[in-house]
Every structure is written in structure tokens, then in C-alpha cells.
């Protein structure tokens, strides 16, 4: 098999993303599940699916369900928001153990505090996970 062949798990041609953004968005919106990927070669995991591993370039990557539990890695309280959004609100990097995800954060949380995926923000630009 060459790396140009379709992936053996079917359906997705080489170069396509598994999951696609449409699938990622649908799972978040309808099931409140964060889809991600894990690399078979280097183990890197991501909450932002791509056609290849961002760390090692391998196309041998599998779709995974990411944990809904994590810890706050960094926060910023957005007071002056882009035009499509109504501030203020808090955005955070949340560490899910094997991958990080950018999310909305509810409540006053410290770095290192445990948080859970509780909701989905539905903005004009697409869904975003909400942790609290």
C-alpha cells in the first residue's frame, strides 16, 4: 500500500480529513462529543482534525472521541470582542490529557482547575465547546 491509497477504514480518500469538519461540527452540536485524532506513528493527539499529523506528518491517524473532562491550561477574559460576538466572555485553552482544545469557559476558574464539557456555544461562525 502506498500513502496515496485510500485509508483502509473506508470512505475517506487520501488527503481527506477523518473526521471532516462537518462531522466534527455535527458531533459537537448534536451529541456534545468532541471528536479528535490520534497519530499511529508518534501518538500526537489533536482536537483540530487534519489530513496529516501536525507533529510528524504521518497520514496514519485515527479518529477518536476526546475526553469531556480536562484542566484549564490558560485563560483570557475578552472584553473587546470581534464584531460577531457579544463580550465579555472567557476563552480558555483546556488540557484534555492527550490534546488541548480552545473553548469558552464559564465561571471564574484558575489554571489547573478541573472542568467539564457542559454546553456548546452556537455562534454565527460555527459551534464552540463550552467548559465549566
Amino acid at each position: 500500500m502506498t500513502d496515496r491509497d485510500p485509508q483502509p477504514d473506508g470512505g475517506h480518500p487520501a488527503g481527506a480529513t477523518d473526521p471532516t469538519y462537518a462531522e466534527w461540527r455535527q458531533h459537537l452540536w448534536e451529541d456534545q462529543v468532541l471528536l479528535g485524532q490520534r497519530c499511529h506513528d508518534c501518538g500526537h493527539a489533536t482536537a483540530a482534525p487534519k489530513a496529516a499529523c501536525a507533529q510528524c506528518g504521518s497520514r496514519s491517524i485515527e479518529r477518536i472521541d476526546l475526553s469531556p473532562e480536562g484542566e484549564v491550561y490558560a485563560r483570557t477574559r475578552i472584553e473587546i470582542a470581534p464584531a460577531e460576538f457579544d463580550g465579555p466572555y472567557t476563552v480558555a485553552l483546556v488540557d484534555l490529557g492527550e490534546a488541548r482544545v480552545l473553548a469558552r469557559l464559564t465561571g471564574e476558574r484558575e489554571i489547573g482547575e478541573s472542568v467539564t464539557l457542559t454546553d456548546v456555544y452556537e455562534g454565527d461562525l460555527g459551534p464552540a465547546p463550552v467548559f465549566g
Binding site: A48, I80, A81, A83, E84
Partner: protein
């Protein structure tokens, strides 16, 4: 291989400018050509940095348009776009074209209009800037660019104990430097108290931690040793050698970067530039770096190897990066006080280094400056270019 030099440099004042892009860029370009004592016939290619003209000015395909405005139509012209690192990337290509012998002399510069006075209001412009982050996994969350660096700085404060007062000291320093630069948008000195009393934009950053919206243009002429000699004979000031340019990228989005606060692209680009120049951080006399927010300056001084991890904040507060200190950082005022017209920022850093290395910076002159370093960052720290310039080489 040829030795590239910057033989001429020019810029507009950074401010609100109610003039079309062509007139704004024309001022910087003509000023750079005149500074080089060269006519347009000496220029073999034109590389333009403009990040957002298509989005905010309904103006694309700008390179031949601006070339025509200054009498350069006919030569190869190219526009570059790499968010805030736009014109540094154009500069890199000019340096490579001269180094390889492809062209003897290249005009490279940038122009952008971002002020509410000439374009969009703050919320709309915040949206435009946010287009430089991940379309699917960052923009929908409502992250802003102050927020990008807010996240990185929040983490730095957590890991190293960096304080809001130390962030404020960076703003105070750069406003002081800007007060000595007639081309700076902000010429007024401020105090730590004023910074800490200003409203929050994206925590931990307050208004005075953030660079302003700016209009402006900058340009330099990059040439080989033969053209540099001609320019010198025709009365130009000292040519400044480009000893190395590093260019690296990091993963987008931020969540996927191994250590987001490390700004790895800056470390990789710096290593390339130091290696090419045959120097280390200890050899640098003057630095122009990408202080879009005060926290970004602290992260950059560590990523470039000037200070150990966690020492960037205390170093700023102790005055070590102030004019007269051991390593003056952003003597121009930086993005913070000089201003940040996106596509013009990278080559404006080169303009300041050339001015410093020629010993022509007046009140803000860094004493005995021989080696200068520019650090220009684009997007969610995804792109960084580092350039090393040297006088008398």
C-alpha cells in the same frame, strides 16, 4: 553568493493618514530610493507587503499598482501576505534574490491602513485581524488577537510569576522610546499607574498593554555589494549588511502547539539567523521585536535567547531593555508606541535598525550599535522571521 546590504530606508510617520494606499506607500518608497541615492532604473524587482488590502480596502493585486505609482512598472512585482509578519517575509525574499545573484537591487516595503479614522471601527477591525487565526477551531470561539497573546501571557504569569506591573513596565519603556521618535504614533510618556488603570481589552492586557491601530508605510532597498558601492559613490549613507534571515512556522491552531508560550517559531527562526550570521544572542546590540502586546515582548526576549525563561518580566522592570540598559529593546517605540500598520511593520523594523546601525537615530541612538536584530511575528505565533543586520561589514 553575494553579500546583501540595505542601502536605503524610508518610512512615513505611523499615525492616522487620510491618504490612499498608493500615496502613503509612495512617500516611503521614494524616501528609501532617495536615501539610497538610486533611481528607479537600478531596481530590478519589487516585493510588497500588504496583509489585508483585499479585505478592508477592496484593493488587491496591489504590487503592480503601487509599482506603477512610483515608476517601477515593467519589473517583476509581487505581493506577500503573512499576517503581521508580511513585509519581513517580503524582505527575506529580497535578501535571497540578491544573495543568489538573481537581482542586483530590490525595492521591498509594506503598507497598510488600519485606523478607525480611515477604515473600519474597532469591533470590525478586531474581526479582520481574527481572520489570521484558525477558521474552524479558533475563530468560532470568539478569540481576538489580544486574546491570543492574553492566553500565552496568562500561562507565563502562572508558570513564572510574571506580574501585571512587569507588563506595564514594557509599555512605559516603549512609550518613553516612542517619545524620542518623530515617526512614532504615540509620542507621550505614560506611567505604570496609567497602564494599570486603563480598561481591560483581553486579560491580562489593558488598553495600554496593546499596540494601536495604525496607518503607515515603510520601504528599504536591498542590493548587492556592487550596487552598494555605486550608492555610496552617489552620496548614500553607510550600507548595512544583512548577515542572516531566519523564517520558521509553528502548528495552527494554538491548542496544537507543544508548548504555546515557547513561541517555537521564534526560537527556530532565531537559531537560523544566528547561525547564518555566525553570532549568538550575546553579540546583539539593539533589538526591534514584535511587541504587539506587552506580554509578547517578554515572551520574545526569552525566545530570542536574551533572557532565561521567566526572566523577561523582571528584566523589563529593572530597565535592562531600556535605552541606556544592557540591551535596548524597541528603541523606535516598537509596535506599542511607534504603531503597527500590519503590512508595514516588518520593514519598518529594518528601517529602525538601519538608522541605529548608521548612528543616525538622534536622541534614541543606542550607543556603539554594531549588530541589530529584528523579530517579526505573524498570526497566532504561527510565523516568525528574525533578521540580523551589521554595520561596517
Amino acid at each position: 553568493m553575494h553579500q546583501p546590504h540595505v542601502v536605503g530606508a524610508g518610512m512615513t510617520r505611523f499615525a492616522a493618514h487620510d491618504r490612499p494606499l498608493a500615496e502613503l506607500f509612495g512617500e516611503a518608497a521614494v524616501s528609501a530610493l532617495d536615501d539610497a541615492s538610486l533611481g528607479t532604473d537600478a531596481i530590478e524587482a519589487f516585493y510588497l507587503g500588504n496583509a489585508m488590502g483585499g479585505q478592508i480596502e477592496n484593493a488587491s493585486h496591489l504590487a503592480p499598482q503601487l509599482a506603477s505609482h512610483i515608476g517601477l512598472a515593467g519589473i517583476p512585482c509581487q505581493r506577500f501576505e503573512d499576517a503581521c509578519a508580511t513585509s519581513s517575509n517580503a524582505f527575506k525574499h529580497a535578501v535571497q534574490a540578491v544573495e543568489s545573484g538573481r537581482h542586483d537591487a530590490v525595492l521591498v516595503g509594506g503598507v497598510e491602513r488600519c485606523t478607525p479614522e480611515t477604515g473600519l471601527d474597532t469591533a470590525e477591525m478586531t474581526t479582520q485581524f481574527a481572520t489570521a487565526m484558525h477558521e474552524l477551531y479558533e475563530q468560532p470561539v470568539g478569540l481576538s488577537f489580544p486574546g491570543v497573546f492574553g492566553l500565552l501571557t496568562d500561562r507565563h504569569m502562572h508558570e513564572y510569576g510574571t506580574t501585571e506591573e512587569q507588563l506595564a513596565e514594557v509599555a512605559v519603556k516603549n512609550h518613553f522610546h516612542g517619545s524620542l521618535n518623530p515617526d512614532a504614533q504615540h509620542g507621550r510618556e505614560i506611567t505604570v499607574e496609567e497602564v494599570l488603570d486603563s480598561p481591560v481589552v483581553a486579560s491580562p492586557f489593558r488598553l495600554y498593554d496593546c499596540c494601536p491601530f495604525s496607518d503607515g508605510a515603510s520601504a528599504v532597498v536591498v542590493a548587492n555589494e556592487s550596487v552598494a558601492e555605486t550608492a555610496r559613490d552617489q552620496g548614500a549613507d553607510e550600507p548595512i549588511a544583512v548577515q542572516g534571515v531566519g523564517h520558521a512556522t509553528d502548528v495552527v491552531p494554538i491548542a496544537d502547539k507543544v508548548d504555546p508560550g515557547a513561541t517555537q517559531a521564534a526560537r527556530d527562526a532565531a537559531e537560523q539567523a544566528y547561525d547564518a550570521a555566525g553570532i549568538g544572542p550575546g553579540d546583539v546590540d539593539v533589538v526591534e521585536l514584535h511587541d504587539c502586546f506587552t506580554g509578547a515582548e517578554i515572551l520574545a526576549t526569552e525566545a530570542l535567547g536574551f533572557f532565561e525563561a521567566g526572566e523577561g518580566g523582571p528584566a523589563a522592570a529593572e530597565g535592562r531593555t531600556r535605552l541606556g540598559g544592557e540591551l535596548p529593546v524597541n528603541p523606535s517605540g516598537g509596535l506599542k508606541a511607534k504603531g503597527h500598520p500590519i503590512g508595514a511593520t516588518g520593514t519598518a523594523q529594518i528601517v529602525e535598525l538601519v538608522t541605529q546601525l548608521r548612528g543616525a537615530a538622534g536622541e534614541r541612538q543606542v550607543e556603539d550599535a554594531q549588530v541589530g536584530l529584528a523579530h517579526n511575528l505573524g498570526g497566532d505565533t504561527a510565523t516568525t522571521l528574525v533578521s540580523v543586520l551589521e554595520a561596517g561589514a
